[in-house]
């Protein structure tokens, strides 16, 4: 039991930090541009595929640097030549633009790399068990993932709190118009933020690629969870996104490792109606409902705290 708790906590924190790598970019972009980037998870996917391709050519370590830069450049170009144009048609058009983009990116990835999972391997240097907790070997690569995401988290925090750019970004989180009035080149800041945000998502993609499955549906699988994180944390709140990321990471990891079901708990009662059409609910295990946990959390949050955990803005 203790083993399960330790391993699940580690995995959960890891998944949560990965989520936060993406959610942080998404939140900052949303706060500044007012548009929720539907294609954010697609940049995560692009990161993984670029990482795979570049690591085959020049190795994993250069890929870890080049792939996010490439994805970030594409992101910046999307902002400069796409979103800025659509901006005058309103927020719905912007959201739909990114929606169409997500669709197109998935198609393009399928054309180039196909639909089946890629053989994106953990680099040899990290392919060993880091430590053993009660008979379970914990892979070093996962520790590396955790390290990278924590390092980026700390770096992001320092940039936001200690530099001028961070100051502008922070100001724009709450008062985007005022920042423009103060004479900052809002256009360039937007482009930069979009580029960095998508690059962060791509970093998550590169480091998650070898550990999870690199496949053309990975954006579609992760995207909705990412939006749940942002809504649960409160739209536009970075600390909220952090808490929600960890919460959902832990929730999902713990749920996957549990086997309990209603029939196990109340098994001895075994009422007659348990074998009728409710048998699905009666017999389903916690592990099986793990995929819907984030969405259940979303609905609960919406009922009890509609603006999200730490959200202040109405929309």
């Amino acid at each position: 039991m203790l083993e399960l708790i330790v391993i699940s906590t580690l995995n959960g924190v890891l998944f949560g930090m990965l989520l936060f790598l993406m959610a942080s970019g998404l939140t900052v972009i949303f706060s500044m541009l007012g548009v929720l980037n539907f294609a954010h998870a697609s940049f995560y996917m692009l990161g993984a595929f670029f990482g795979y391709q570049i690591s085959r050519w020049v190795g994993f370590w250069p890929a870890l640097l080049i792939a996010p830069i490439l994805a970030g450049a594409i992101g910046a170009a999307v902002e400069r030549y796409g979103l800025r144009r659509v901006h005058r048609n309103g927020h719905v058009a912007e959201l739909l633009f990114t929606f169409g983009l997500a669709f197109a990116i998935e198609e393009i990835v399928q054309i180039i790399w196909g639909k089946s999972p890629l053989d994106f391997r953990v680099p040899d240097i990290l392919d060993f068990p880091a430590f053993t907790v009660f008979s379970t070997n914990y892979p070093a690569y996962k520790m590396f993932m955790l390290l990278v995401s924590v390092a980026i988290f700390v770096g992001l925090l320092l940039v936001l709190k200690r530099t001028r750019i961070g100051l502008i970004v922070q100001a724009a989180l709450t008062h985007p118009h005022m920042v423009g009035h103060l004479g900052h080149n809002v256009g360039r800041v937007f482009m930069l933020v979009f580029g960095v945000g998508t690059a962060l998502a791509a970093v998550a993609g590169v480091i998650a690629g070898p550990a999870l499955v690199t496949q053309s549906n990975m954006a579609g699988l992760l995207g909705p969870i990412l939006f749940v994180v942002v809504v649960v944390g409160g739209l536009g709140s970075l600390p909220g996104a952090f808490i929600a990321s960890l919460l959902i990471g832990l929730l999902q990891t713990f749920a996957v490792s549990m086997n309990g079901s209603l029939s196990e708990i109340f098994g001895p009662l075994s009422p007659a109606w348990a074998s009728t059409w409710v048998s699905d609910i009666w017999n389903v295990t916690v592990a099986q409902i793990a995929p819907i946990m984030p969405y259940l959390l979303l609905v609960l949050i919406l009922i009890f705290r509609p603006m999200g955990l730490l959200g202040t803005r109405e929309t």
Partner: protein
């Protein structure tokens, strides 16, 4: 008193306007009846049925997006649940031999959609805008994932099937042949279209538009935007349920794909491409997208990519959709200055076509290169054979894209100038 009324209220429509209005609906009904007499193949009946279902679904979606300004990413939930309940209803009615004929079954789907919209809508519609969009996405994922867990009801991956011909028969219609299904769909399409159009003319329909444009002002007037949105959500769920039930009857099966993100995305595409600003927009979009998805898949293997790119183009360049583009010309036609823009259109269309052909050629070549590079390079896309491996083709594609793009930019600037001239002239004429 009557003086004020006559000044504020719009004048009652003239007999001519009324005749035009009712004439349009009667024409639509006649068209629906006559269509299968013109196109007599089985395949066209199926296509028409799919279009009819898609029209109802897209119009129901437009109650949310176009009328009330709510962007939903999960409208297929109500469509799918309507479909599932309809299938179960057909099975239960058939097993018990109840005297309920098939044409009533879509109503069961509609009520299902309504009930679930009432349940899920209250929390979803608390906020509009981006938050609503994300919530609709989350709820859709919740329902779609649950559908795979609750296997008894949703039938797992395989879905649930039924036999539509085993029901109580009215006028000896068995609903076996596709033509009978077509008439069933056509009748429901007409009823739903009339009902949804009538809804937009009610005071509540007008409040929806007000909520879309300025929810704060609506609150000042004394309405609760949340309640207005909630009612809109319920109506949208109701009509989506009808569409889903019709789809289930058409295919005689309901599976989890009905509830999924692809279905939600398709209805969003149809509605937006058709145009959300006008009632007729989603109808045009539904016809267009259904025909496109049926036709394009025969022409090229990557039709979904074209579809996505086309959607991006519409969002970026024609936010009003197809109907929006057409309706833009109405003031020019009224002012009689349409002739001024047509020459510049004709000039612009040549480089634009060159650009598009270049892009298609490029995409097809790249697709061939990456997906089946070892196969015969002489491929056929859009019915035109060409060699995808020769440098000549790549060169032509590059020239068409760069050259066409450059010239197209210039010509479209001219179109904009000509357009402004024509509009000014039309306005001046109207004033005079």
């Amino acid at each position: 008193m009557s003086d004020i009324v006559s000044r504020v209220a719009p004048p009652p429509p003239s007999t001519g306007d009324k005749a035009k209005f009712y004439g349009l609906w009667i024409a639509a009904a006649v068209l629906l009846i006559v269509l299968p007499k013109i196109f007599t193949s089985q395949a066209s009946f199926t296509t028409f049925s799919l279009i009819g279902i898609s029209i109802i679904f897209a119009l129901s979606y437009n109650i949310l997006l176009g009328q009330t300004g709510m962007l939903s990413f999960g409208h297929a939930v109500y469509y799918g649940l309507g479909g599932f309940l309809a299938i179960h209803a057909i099975n239960i009615i058939g097993a018990h031999k109840w005297a309920i004929p098939l044409p009533v079954v879509p109503l069961i789907g509609g009520i299902t959609g309504l009930v679930f919209a009432m349940l899920l809508g209250w929390v979803s519609t608390q906020r509009s805008g981006t938050a609503f969009a994300m919530i609709s996405l989350g709820v859709a994922e919740l329902v779609a994932s649950s559908a795979l867990i609750l296997r008894t009801f949703f039938g797992g991956e395989g879905g649930v099937s039924a036999n539509r011909t085993k029901l109580f028969r009215l006028f000896d219609w068995s609903f076996g042949p596709q033509i009978q299904i077509y008439y069933l769909v056509a009748a429901w399409t007409l009823i739903c279209m009339i009902a949804m159009y009538a809804l937009t003319r009610t005071p509540w329909g007008r409040m929806c538009n007000a909520v879309r444009d300025n929810p704060e002002r609506v609150q000042f007037v004394g309405y609760d935007p949340h309640v207005v949105r909630y009612i809109a959500f319920c109506f949208a769920g109701f009509f989506a349920g009808i569409a889903g039930a019709l789809a289930a009857i058409n295919f005689e099966i309901a599976n989890s794909a009905y509830l999924g993100a692809v279905q939600s995305g398709t209805v969003l595409f149809s509605t937006y491409i058709g145009g959300v600003g006008f009632f007729i927009g989603p109808v045009v979009g539904a016809i267009f997208v259904t025909l496109l998805s049926l036709g394009l898949s025969d022409l090229t293997s990557v039709w979904q990519l074209y579809f996505g790119l086309f959607f991006i183009l519409v969002v970026a360049f024609a936010p009003g959709g197809i109907t929006g583009l057409l309706m833009m010309h109405r003031p020019l036609i009224r002012g009689g200055t349409l002739g001024k823009v047509i020459p510049s259109y004709l000039v612009a269309i040549v480089p634009t076509l060159a650009l598009l052909i270049g892009l298609m050629l490029g995409i097809e070549c790249i697709v061939h290169h990456t997906m089946n590079a070892t196969e015969d390079p002489n491929i056929k896309a859009f019915g035109i054979p060409f060699n995808a491996a020769s440098p000549l083709t790549w060169g032509i594609a590059a020239i068409l894209i760069v050259g066409g793009g450059f010239v197209a930019r210039m010509t479209w600037k001219r179109v904009a100038v000509a357009w402004d001239d024509a509009l000014t002239a039309a306005r001046a004429k109207e004033m005079a």
